[in-house]
Symmetry: C2
Subunit: 241 residues, 2 copies
């Protein structure tokens, strides 16, 4: 059975302006690979309702799962929940279970649950809440779209709640070989091998170290025995005689 | 006059598998902001011809400039140049000026310009070369699409060649204010101010430090005097009386 596919949608002006360096994509990519879900595409869009709606509708139609990060806080630029509801064409409002979570949290810290904070209990109709063990305000899943916070430790905690609920595939395995030869030197035997092992993917990543060219070769697939076989052949063809 | 818009397209399985952490998006975002070009969207796709074609055609139609990174080396998984040619519907082949650059480079180092390396001289018809001061193999611009290497120092050097040739706008200015109050505390006055200064954008980025909630507030725009005025009002409305 082919592995399930996924896409990521990062929402936030701060990434596109260069103010903040996104780290959630890298985290998600690694976690999905371990879970046997293939991340096929990622997009970053601004805090703009039309842009979020267009991206989420394109991605949820094309892939099995969609993970979003950012835009679910209490301020005026946090418009992700509204945009997701609009993308699905469902109503959105303050939901009792989400409100109860916030009430309990703010009561413990003696902080007022004001109108701005209450916005974080706005959940599109039909969504399942995603637990936020850190700052409590929940994320949610609607259909195949999983809406999570942008703050990295909260994103990571929410993903840890969601991932076990999703059907994964065979874990995507990889093996790598580091050779001190330039890419251009080994491109031909590598291409031949990629044709021979068409069920695996072969990646080639050049580097320069102490003025000498080297290449990291990475073979990926789900069948450990095939990977082993490919690595033995790879070592033979890229090592100078 | 509104600022020109841009998109980025990152091409590479290694980013989506979590093997490599992309850094070119963050670099590009900062450089474009300084140059007065607004980065509106970024996408990451795999080394897959159909995916590259679809993304580049969507982005070049929607934005003034498109910057790509990755997939222009000598190996079988480097398919960006072919995909860009296909997206524009133009032929591609080894071009004399690109071949001359590679010939001179490999002659200096006494390395053979083999068939794999010669692939790096394949340039779509009508493209302008982008200088690569580091490893010589050029990038290219075709229409409003600027095709650059994925290796970060080469990407950065190529971008430095391209950027001065593009029409920028007024630089995008930003000022920020750090307050030790939670986002939910200041969301209302911040939203009111964003309405009052509709020509500026107001961003709000929460953090936790030593167990206390704080928020970085960022105001962006192109008019320095308006930014100054907004910052004075901002400081007044978010500071507890």
């Amino acid at each position: 059975m082919p592995n399930p596919t996924a896409a990521m949608l990062v929402i936030g002006d701060e990434i596109l302006s260069g103010r903040t360096r996104d780290s959630n994509m890298y985290h998600l990519a690694g976690e999905l690979t371990r879970h046997g879900i293939v991340l096929k595409e990622a997009r970053v869009v601004a805090d703009d309702q039309a842009a979020i709606i267009a991206a989420v509708n394109a991605l949820r139609a094309a892939y099995d799962e969609v993970f979003t990060s950012g835009g679910i806080g209490p301020t005026h630029d946090d418009i992700t929940a509204e945009a997701i509801a609009a993308a699905f064409g469902v109503p959105i409002g303050v939901r009792d279970d989400a409100r109860a979570i916030l009430e309990a949290h703010y009561a413990r810290s003696g902080t007022e649950l004001n109108a701005a904070r209450l916005r974080m209990a706005r959940i599109p109709d039909g969504a399942r809440l995603i637990d936020n063990p850190i700052s409590r305000a929940p994320g949610f899943s609607l259909g195949n779209v999983h809406v999570m916070a942008g703050v990295p430790n909260i994103f990571e905690a929410m993903l840890a709640s969601v991932l076990p609920t999703l059907t994964g595939g065979d874990p995507l395995l990889s093996q790598s070989l580091r050779v001190m030869r330039g890419e251009g030197e080994i491109a031909k035997p590598l291409a031949d091998l990629a044709l021979e092992f068409a069920d695996l993917t072969f990646g080639s990543y050049p580097f320069v170290r102490d003025g000498a060219y080297g290449t990291n070769l990475v073979v990926r697939g789900t069948d450990a025995a095939r990977l082993d076989a490919a690595m033995i052949r790879l070592a033979a063809v890229v090592t100078p005689a």
